[in-house]
């Protein structure tokens, strides 16, 4: 018998299909213009109670929570009464991170290490977030969250030893530069494979819940990497088990040369990814230190009160290259970062401190110089130990350690064969 198929339904289009491939609005040569971007005024987005029914705040996945207005005032329900010392520390952390980046970028150019990734424009995200965590909590970061370490007081010198892969590197020269690790500072060892940490953060948080502990976890991912399976697995597990975890998505607009619309698809925002899972989802101005801190505290409180996960999208912009191997002018207009409407996180927090009479231009210049000096002296110490190119690296003998808890015979043989 011949195969039969139904005739096409009435109204079915006979026109050929075409493939949709999204494109960014601006390419090199275009003049970037963000005047049509919908950015709510600071202070206009409501602050729900932490035990809100996620169904009631679906709109918060599509707006942007902002606290600092153009005049540097902290306005609206998300503005918290913060000790000026907290804010000054925040500003210093961001200045330190910026100075650290500048020195390490230069060190890479000078051939002292192989590679570096900077945070320019995104400093507020990690520096402010750490303020919501307590000792014992665990971040599962990706590679642009060094601010978590800096704001938790991790020594810059040790960070640099990692970047230089020298004998002072706690990871024994095994990892790519910027792949830090510190259990004590709540910073999980970074993997080069994107997104793998996301579901691990959920697992860690589930562990804490199973043991009746009080610790919470924070997962970190870039908007581009949300396309990976691990991200989706994390949302399923977090939502099913109501894991005490904060699911962070740093949307800095670009994933190497690929604009955020490629990973986002038709969902509108990355925060909206949480909605299908019943996870409360917030979008926040990632260049607003106060807004990031307030939202992080809200999400942390939910986790601590066993109310489950929160998905937070930080809207920000990667002002620098993806890494030292990248030239962003090949795929986006040079002026795009200046045209980016949410401004510079450092200048915005500075303006706020000045506005409340707790800071001045002079103090700022001085603080910048101090940050620079702190970084330079840490660099001197680190370089006294060695750099990737100048030597005093961990012994090649070390290369065979830590593959297993106990070195098996075949590795011992290979170590001997290698001459170490």
């Amino acid at each position: 018998m011949a195969t039969t198929f139904a005739t096409p339904p009435p109204g079915a289009s006979p026109a050929p299909l075409t493939l949709n491939v999204p494109e960014p609005e601006f390419r090199p040569g275009d003049t970037p213009d963000f005047s049509n971007a919908v950015i709510p005024r600071a202070g206009t987005v409501r602050r729900p109670p932490v035990d809100v029914d996620p169904q009631e705040i679906r709109d918060l996945a599509f707006t942007i929570i902002r606290v600092l207005n153009r005049k540097g005032e902290a306005v609206g329900e998300w503005a918290e009464a913060l000790d000026p010392d907290v804010l000054r520390k925040g500003l210093r952390d961001m200045l330190t991170l910026r100075a650290y980046d500048a020195r390490m970028m230069k060190a890479q150019r000078q051939g002292k290490t192989s590679f570096y990734m900077q945070h320019l424009g995104e400093e507020a995200v990690s520096c402010a977030f750490q303020g919501a965590l307590a000792r014992g909590d665990m971040n599962f970061p990706t590679y642009r969250q060094a601010g978590l370490l800096i704001s938790s007081g991790y020594p810059l010198m040790k960070m640099m030893c990692q970047v230089y892969s020298n004998d002072g590197d706690t990871a024994r020269g095994r990892q790519l530069p910027v792949f830090y690790s510190s259990k004590e500072h709540g910073f999980f060892s970074i993997s080069g494979n994107l997104a793998t940490q996301y579901i691990q953060a959920v697992g860690w948080a589930m562990g804490s819940a199973i043991r009746g502990d009080t610790k919470i976890a924070a997962a970190w991912i870039g908007e581009g990497a949300t396309a990976e399976n691990d991200f989706h697995a994390a949302l399923v597990f977090a939502s099913t088990y109501k894991a005490p975890v904060i699911l962070n998505v740093v949307n800095n607009q670009w994933a190497i040369s690929t604009f955020q619309g490629i990973a986002r698809g038709g969902s509108g925002t990355f925060a909206a990814r949480g909605l299908g899972f019943g996870i409360p989802a917030l979008r926040v101005d990632g260049n607003d230190y106060l807004a990031v801190l307030a939202v992080a505290r809200w999400a942390a409180e939910r986790a601590r009160r066993n109310l489950g996960p929160t998905l937070v999208e930080y809207v920000t912009y990667r002002a620098g290259g993806h890494s030292t191997s990248d030239d962003p002018t090949a795929y986006r207009p040079k002026e795009e970062s200046n045209a980016w409407p949410l401004g510079d996180p450092v200048l915005r927090l500075k303006a706020h401190l000045v506005a409340i009479g707790e800071w001045s231009d002079e103090r700022h210049v001085q603080a910048e110089a101090e940050a620079h000096d702190t970084v330079v002296s840490a660099q001197r110490e680190a370089e006294a130990i060695g750099t990737l190119m100048s030597g005093n690296l961990p012994s090649p003998r070390d290369m065979f350690e830590d593959v297993y808890a106990e070195m098996p015979p075949h590795l011992k043989r290979q170590r001997q064969e290698s001459g170490y």
Binding site: V21, E23, S114, N166, R174, S257, A263, L411, S418
Partner: protein
């Protein structure tokens, strides 16, 4: 004939294949507008349009899974995984789907696709940008696996891979994208454009899969190798003065057993060389084949030189990587046996 880098040769192969057959589509992370982080697909989107060369979300599983579906539809997807280290999320689609489709449907559905990925170390990539996972592919039935060592091979093998009716994995040794590597990291890289092996005929025919090339004829011993290590073996022969025959396998599966046998029967001694970790590596397969097919010609046991059984360490790349010294030492020892 022109001299070009391996990257340019790969661009050319894409161009030739896309011009010839409009079912060939190219996609992957950053491959569209930007032309790939290593530039292997540069210019293709401009020339062939966005529906034939496009950027994908960062989802290796998505890339491979979509390619399987597209191939089943009747297209010829040629996709890029940014670094071989990132194919693990897609491994299930490669192993359980792409490799099996023909078998499980008795030929009703097939999967003519190519998966390209940069492999190997020597660029300070540390553990997640340096792996050589060839054994993970050659162990899988239904896949073919190729590794070029020169620009002309990169072009010719890629053309054959795209034309092949089955899924082909192309492992591109990134250490030799721009020029050959003689195992000496402290020497400047000589561009392929200034190297005799950088010669490419942009109108040349594809290089058939499954055929090895003898890079250096010799009588004293045979080195079976591929990719970056071909150049290390050449350097070792030169530096030791040992008259080694260097066989560049080019295709690891199906492997050119005839050439292997011919060479080992002639020299009577064999070194198997790769930069992937030793244990259960592709070299174990080669040693097995040699002992099975050349046992009565062998004058000494077959020797393996390979990466150590550790992850790839950032600061110790040059201890990890088999260099000409290690290969030369193995050659010398083998001749004494």
């Amino acid at each position: 004939m022109t001299h070009m880098t391996m990257i340019e040769a790969i661009q050319n192969a894409h161009d030739v294949a896309m011009a010839e057959d409009d079912r060939v589509v190219v996609f992957g992370q950053d491959v569209g507008f930007f032309g790939g982080v290593f530039r292997c697909t540069a210019g293709l989107q401009k020339k062939y349009g966005k529906s034939r060369c496009f950027d994908t979300p960062i989802s290796e599983l998505g890339i491979i899974g979509a390619a399987v579906g597209m191939a089943a539809y009747g297209m010829k997807p040629c996709v890029e995984i940014q670094f071989a280290d990132y194919m693990y999320p897609a491994y299930d689609q490669i192993v359980s789907e792409a490799a099996r489709l023909r078998y499980r449907s008795a030929g009703e559905f097939t999967c003519p696709m190519v998966v390209r990925m940069p492999t190997g170390g020597g660029i300070y990539g540390a553990q997640t940008h340096s792996q050589s996972p060839e054994a993970l592919f050659t162990h899988v039935t239904g896949l073919k696996t190729v590794v070029p060592s020169t620009p002309a091979d990169a072009r010719g093998l890629l053309l054959s891979a795209i034309a092949d009716p089955d899924p082909v994995i192309v492992l591109e040794p990134k250490r030799i994208y721009n020029g050959p590597f003689d195992g000496h990291h402290d020497r400047p890289v000589v561009s392929w454009k200034k190297h005799p092996l950088g010669e490419v005929d942009t109108a040349g025919a594809p290089i058939p899969l499954g055929k090895a090339a003898v890079r250096r004829e010799g009588e004293a011993l045979t080195v079976l190798t591929y990719g970056t290590m071909v150049h290390v073996a050449l350097a070792a022969a030169e530096e030791t003065g040992i008259d080694a025959e260097i066989v560049d396998l080019r295709t690891l599966l199906p492997v050119d057993l005839d050439q292997i046998v011919r060479s080992v029967e002639k020299t009577g001694r064999c070194i198997v060389l790769h930069e992937a970790t030793l244990t259960c590596g592709y070299g174990a397969e080669l040693v097995s084949l040699v002992q099975e097919h050349c046992f009565y010609s062998l004058e000494a046991p077959v020797v393996r030189v390979a990466g150590w059984d550790t992850p790839y360490p950032h600061a110790q790349e040059w201890t990890y990587f088999p260099g000409p010294a290690r290969v030369g030492e193995a050659m010398t020892r083998l001749l004494q046996r």
